[in-house]
Amino acid sequence: MIRDFVYLGPSCLKEALTFLSEYKDKCKIIGGGQSLLILMRQGLVSPEYLIDIKHLKELNHINFDSKEGLKIGATTTHRAIEKSSLIKEHFPVLIKMEQNLASIQTRNWGTIGGNLAHADPAGDPGPVLIALNATVKIANKDRERTMPIEEFFLDYFETALEEGELLLEIQIPVTPPKTATVYEKFNIIKNEQAIVSVAASITLDNNGLNCTDARIVLGAAAPIPKRVKEAEQMLVGQKLNDGLLDQVCKKASEEAEPVADIHATEEYRRYLAQVLTKKMVKNAWKQAEVSA
């Protein structure tokens, strides 16, 4: 049962931030509420005040600039991202990720900001955005700050957002040349949550031979979307070969910190991390070779 609360519909971002600073831990932000309302119904969250930012135009945008890269407002719906021609052109991996994220109904109403702030370790955007080297813009009523999205996730359902702070925007830098990013999740029923997911981003030198940068991120295999940095390092400076791939994906599964639940044992999750890492690194590499 959802407990009663005071509903606050700020008319602008400034007012929203003022409410936040005023009600602190007594309040919660609601975007699309696709996760929050379920928690509230289960009585896991029962705020006294609910601040609705869903309708704030200032936070609902998708912009691309060849220097600054992509900027997605926090209340942009998943569906808007999925349908954006800008994103399709510059970050197709986000489209594929969105197409397999929950149901169309949920994507129609749910927001990217809400998804990230919920910080579900099995969430899809986290790993991809980390692989894309994204940063997030955060603000309270007095100041703004940005941080790599990698540092945004602290623990299960816990983020770096401090009291009074709001997630405003996701910023994705322009993709370096000879770079490709891919993502895949393993699940039994399509569009449901990942049992394990892997995002990989590979950058090659100008001749498309050696790896100059690699980012590999595991989803649902740790308390947070987890970069497997040792595995990444093994790739840097190397040429693609099966022996290397085997070592890399083994390392990735060693770096994973999965837990068992009713959907999979810890061992199986580790194993999936290995299988998917191999597949993703290979795919990213192949795409990077042919990319501009």
Partner: protein, 758 residues
């Protein structure tokens, strides 16, 4: 000229428009003036004594109107096996003891749902936790915690079937194989959760709107447990949002809402949440199967010995029937000269297991069909061939059990074989597996101890030719309303739109035992046909008088034309003759009555459906993940009445049975179900469905209306077995433990590789 003018043609369901326009009113939608909302407090312990319940705080909460506990009941231990007292073991609000997590201990009525829920937190229950047991094999051991006084070693029911001489059979056998199988549980997941609106009025009459498969059973069980006269209770169930076996026993919503309403003389509505639905209704019976099978080297079946322990959960419910049927269908659909089955249903401190679509047969079919392919493989015989060699046939008698009057199994095997051949060579990591199956068309057993006929119907012909058809059967989506109307129209020689159907209301409808065990088409169908024929006969008497034919001529009605069969042009309009007939009878409407009760039809059922299903599946060797590609079913349900409904039943059964095969399960920890929601409980969705194809193999069943048999429930039997065989043929591993998860497949593949290396 077509043999039939109404049946065997696709039609819109007669309640279709109500359903696609949102006008169909389910009990879930019922709202009455001054209605209150109820909630049920449930046990957090798998096994505990109730020492005391203090409801005073809850009663003081503003807006709470009443709280009831076991003390407010007559303390009757009820059950659906009314003939056997000791199998009636469930008080819906227990007075002394709880035996599973989720068992009701109290119920609240308040002005709104949230208040009722709040009040639950204010009820103080003092429990004395008891040692609990969850595994039947543990529960049967000496010294295990005992759930029920009279159930030594927690043995609830045992069933034994035997024919021939099994020992002799094994002596003759060239090859004997033993296997062990674990069949998991499954939840019905009806889209409409269990619910009831009960309204007790000062004239001491109780009306209950509810979602049920049998309004008659609910009427009787409520009368018994509430101490009311049966027909002072009216149960209304116009629409039922899915049943699948979960909705013909008395449930906590029906009982608690009634109890609260009787205390308050106000309508009370209780709707179970999805979580309550999962933890505290009923579920498919988990089974541990041992099979020992002896065959000749040419594949001829000689002897089979089956032993089963079923996880009964806390109460008997319908589990006793599932225990018998799994034993019977373990020998289906083949000729076994020697067979022995010993089945044990063991009480455990878990949610009671009971009836679910297939009723013990899907478990039996999974184990049997998986083992048959292993045997065929061991002996180097083709899976189709070994089944063809041993298939049942029309005229076969299952010794002491059943008589098969119609059986299209061999033709089904031929059709499926053709399809498999048409697939040619399959790509790597893909396989096709088959499973043969059969099912009953309604049970002949009467453990409910009804004095009524199993099915009854009434037909009333009005002056304008419109016909009122009164039936007791319950449409829960399977389309029985339409099927019955079609049978009535066909028999009377009129059109579907001439029928006005009355169902789902004990005040109006003649008794039928309800929609379970695939009863309706055959049993209710026979009653409807008989009632229609009786009405038609009365009309034809007047037609004969009018047409004055030579006495040797027979008359009939077809497409609203009453005529001489030999000379169809000599006739009279149905409308005109109806007017004549009613006038001629001093204005009485024409009334036909029909009923059906099986007599001398063996132990199980008057008729059996048969079929063969082929499942084509891919396995990802890297992850063990299974994807369904095709599912083709050749199916003998006798004469098809409603083709669209048969196709729908078949495809729906595949989705549910494939779920049983590889995604659905109810994992527990100390009796607590760990996935009581639709996020963690995985039902198949659109993207997981294979292409489906139905091949109708028509036979004529003498016992069925127009030769019709069961078509729907039995279709859940083959899929899990066919899937496990597909995996066996694709990857050479056999998984005997449902559900067949990617992890199990992967581990099996690895074991296989390890063996190779050694």
């Amino acid at each position: 000229m077509k043999k039939y003018s109404v049946i065997n043609s696709p039609v819109h369901n007669i309640d279709g428009i109500a359903k696609v326009t949102g006008r169909a009113t389910y009990a879930f939608d019922v709202k009455l003036p001054s209605m209150l909302y109820g909630k049920i407090l449930r046990s957090p312990y798998p096994h505990a004594k109730i020492l005391n319940i203090d409801t005073s705080k809850a009663e003081r909460l503003n807006g709470v109107k009443a709280v009831v506990t076991g003390k407010d009941t007559l303390g009757i231990k009820q059950g659906i096996w009314r003939r056997f007292k000791e199998l009636c073991d469930e008080e819906i609000l227990s007075r002394s003891k709880v035996r599973y997590i989720g068992e009701p201990v109290a119920a609240v009525a308040a002005v709104d749902e949230d208040l009722a829920e709040e009040a639950l937190d204010l009820i103080e229950v003092e429990y004395e936790p008891l040692a609990a047991v969850f595994d039947p094999v543990e529960a049967i051991k000496e010294g295990a915690p005992q759930l029920h006084e009279n159930a030594e070693r927690n043995i609830n029911v045992t069933r034994h079937i035997e024919w021939g001489d099994v020992e002799e059979g094994f002596k003759e056998a060239d090859y004997i194989r033993e296997d062990w199988f674990r069949c998991s549980s499954q939840h019905h997941v009806c889209m409409e959760t269990h619910n009831a609106v009960a309204s007790y009025t000062p004239d001491r009459k109780l009306t209950v709107w509810t979602s049920t498969q049998s309004h008659y059973y609910i009427q009787v069980l409520l009368a018994w447990t509430l101490g009311l006269r049966e027909n002072d209770i009216r149960v209304i169930s116009r629409y039922t949002g899915g049943g699948f076996g979960s909705k013909f026993e008395l449930d906590s919503a029906q009982f608690c809402a009634s109890l609260l309403s009787m205390k308050l003389f106000r309508p009370v509505k209780i709707v179970l949440t999805r979580e309550e639905e999962f933890i505290a209704t009923k579920r498919r019976t988990p089974m541990f199967y041992y099979l020992r099978t002896g065959v000749k080297k040419d594949g001829t079946f000689l002897a089979k010995e089956g032993r089963v322990f079923t996880e009964g959960g806390a109460y008997t419910s319908m589990g006793a029937t599932a225990l018998y049927l799994t034993g019977f269908f373990q020998a289906f659909p083949y000729v076994w000269p020697n067979y022995r089955y010993d089945g044990y249903r063991v009480y455990t401190n878990t949610e009671p297991s009971s009836a679910m679509r297939g009723f013990g047969a899907p478990q039996a079919t999974f184990a049997a069909e998986t083992q048959i392919d292993l045997i065929a493989n061991d002996l180097g015989i083709d899976p189709i061939e070994i089944r063809r060699k041993n298939a049942m046939y029309a005229g076969y008698e299952v010794p002491g059990q059943a008589w098969i009057q119609s059986c299209g199994l061999r033709e089904c095997l031929d059709k499926v074989e053709e399809w498999i051949k048409s697939r040619g060579k399959l790509p790597l990591n893909r396989g096709i597996g088959i499973a043969a199956y059969g099912f009953m068309s309604g049970g002949i057993f009467n453990w409910f101890d009804t004095p009524y006929a199993f099915s009854s119907a009434m037909v009333k012909v009005n002056i304008d030719g419109k016909v009122d058809l009164y039936i007791g059967s319950q449409d829960m989506g399977q389309g029985s309303n339409t099927t019955m109307a079609m049978i009535c129209a066909e028999e009377l020689g009129i059109r579907l739109e001439d029928i006005r159907l009355h169902m789902g209301d004990t005040d109006i409808c003649p008794v039928d035992l309800g929609a379970w065990g695939s009863r309706e088409t055959l049993m209710q169908g026979n009653a409807v046909k008989m009632a229609s024929a009786e009405a038609k006969q009365q009309i034809l008497e007047f037609a004969a008088a009018k047409l004055a034919p030579n006495i040797v001529y027979d008359l009939d009605i077809k497409d609203r034309w009453a005529h001489l069969i030999a000379r169809p042009e000599r006739g009279i309009s149905y409308y005109d003759v109806v007017i004549e007939a009613i006038r001629g009878r001093d204005g009485q409407p024409i009334i036909g009555r029909g009923h059906y009760t099986p007599h001398r039809k063996g132990m199980i059922s008057p008729a059996y459906s048969f079929g063969v299903q082929a499942v084509e599946a891919d396995i990802d060797p890297d992850t063990g993940k299974i994807s369904l590609i095709n599912c083709v079913t050749a199916h003998d349900c006798g004469q098809v009445i409603n083709p669209l409904a048969v196709e729908g039943q078949l495809e729906g059964a595949i989705a549910m049975a494939a779920g049983y095969g590889f995604t659905e399960d109810l994992p527990m920890d100390e009796g607590k179900i760990l996935n009581p929601n639709l996020v963690d409980y995985k039902v198949l969705r659109a993207r997981e469905m294979p292409e489906t194809k139905v091949i109708e193999v028509e036979t004529y069943e003498p016992e069925g209306p127009f030769g019709a048999k069961e078509a729907g429930e039995g279709l859940t039997n083959p899929t899990a077995g066919a899937l496990s065989n597909a995996i066996f043929h694709a990857a050479g591993v056999s998984i005997k433990n449902l559900p067949i998860t990617p992890e199990k497949v992967l581990n099996a593949l690895r074991e296989k590789d390890d063996k190779k290396e050694q």
